[in-house]
């Protein structure tokens, strides 16, 4: 069977003990117990993982908006990768010399109040950490941040309305998982198929979104972007 997301893959690992599992959209398969390395993993599972570059997106956020000294994010405590990404963001904040504040969010209905709480704590920009639940309500992140005047940067390029994003392609990640599924269908054993890690990063600048947020993206960043949306 195929699973999309870490949560679905974790559930499959709990229930399905021997039949093949091919996963996609999993940040870190090792944290959820799929294996110890790309080649040393449970014999019935393989897949394509996508570790989103939170650290690089944070560095880009700092470069784009140097006046912002305090960044923040919502996080879902139930997400298996919450701590993984929080630690990455905290490490990068120390490296960049800025403050990073995280507020827990346990349901889509908590997103808007959560963003407002970050603003109340002095946050000037949102670097939204990856989360399945928060991702399903990402429009509320965009809308609330825009309304209350917070910058928004994402390590995921699939969301619309985000002024600046640096991430990996979930489409390509799913495609890689599909290629693994074909090999399994044709008789290869998952044990013999190493996990495939997405690595091709993509920077997206949305100038229309930036204008709506009242932000100016530096020309040097626009020049490096892989994709520029909206009129210059």
């Amino acid at each position: 069977m195929a699973t999309v997301s870490s949560v679905a893959t974790q559930a499959a690992l709990r229930v399905i003990n021997s039949q093949p599992i091919v996963f996609a959209a999993v940040a870190n398969p090792y944290i959820i117990g799929a294996g110890a390395s790309a080649t040393e993993h449970k014999p019935h599972i393989t897949g394509a993982n996508i570790p989103l570059p939170v650290d690089s997106a944070f560095a880009l956020a700092r470069e784009a908006f140097p006046a912002i000294a305090t960044w923040g994010s919502l996080y879902d405590p139930a997400d298996p990768f919450a701590e993984f990404y929080l630690e990455m963001a905290r490490d990068m904040a120390r490296h960049l010399g800025v403050e990073f504040i995280a507020v827990a969010c346990t349901a889509p209905g908590d997103i808007a109040p959560g963003i407002q709480a970050l603003k109340a704590k002095g946050v000037g920009g949102i670097l939204q950490l990856p989360s399945v639940m928060i991702g399903s309500g990402f429009a509320a992140v965009v809308k609330t941040a825009r309304q209350i005047g917070l910058a928004l940067v994402s390590p995921n390029t699939d969301y619309s309305g985000v002024p600046l994003a640096l991430g990996l392609s979930f489409y390509n990640n799913g495609y890689d998982a599909g290629l693994l599924m074909i090999r399994v269908i044709r008789g290869e054993k998952p044990a013999d198929l190493p996990f495939q890690t997405a690595s091709k990063r993509r920077m997206v600048v949305d100038l229309d979104a930036a204008r709506a947020f009242g932000l100016t993206i530096p020309a040097a960043i626009i020049a490096r972007a892989d994709s520029v949306i909206g009129a210059r």
Partner: protein, 113 residues
Amino acid sequence: MSRERLARTLPCRLAVVLATLLLGGACGRLGGGDRPAIGFAQITSSAALDQARAGFFQALSDSGYNRDSTLRVLERNAQGDIATLMLIMNEFKQRGWTTWRPCPRWPPKPRSA
């Protein structure tokens, strides 16, 4: 669980339970037919996960595995509900959608005109 969340996920839960009860033991291993069959489970819909799903099925299609013609797919979306997700996994397990008969020569080559 809130009433709103229960109302949102109830149809999906009922479908999974009914499918398991009605088809579980009776139809055997659905992956055992002449076409490969896969179960596909998604926790919820979001821009990122939907992109991954699209890429997954595109890869299969590019290699000749097309849904409903050369590949059977049982797809489930838990709508963000963990309890529903566990029901889905148990459904896949009971219905045999976690397995398939390896088909090294599948799909068949198109016949020349």
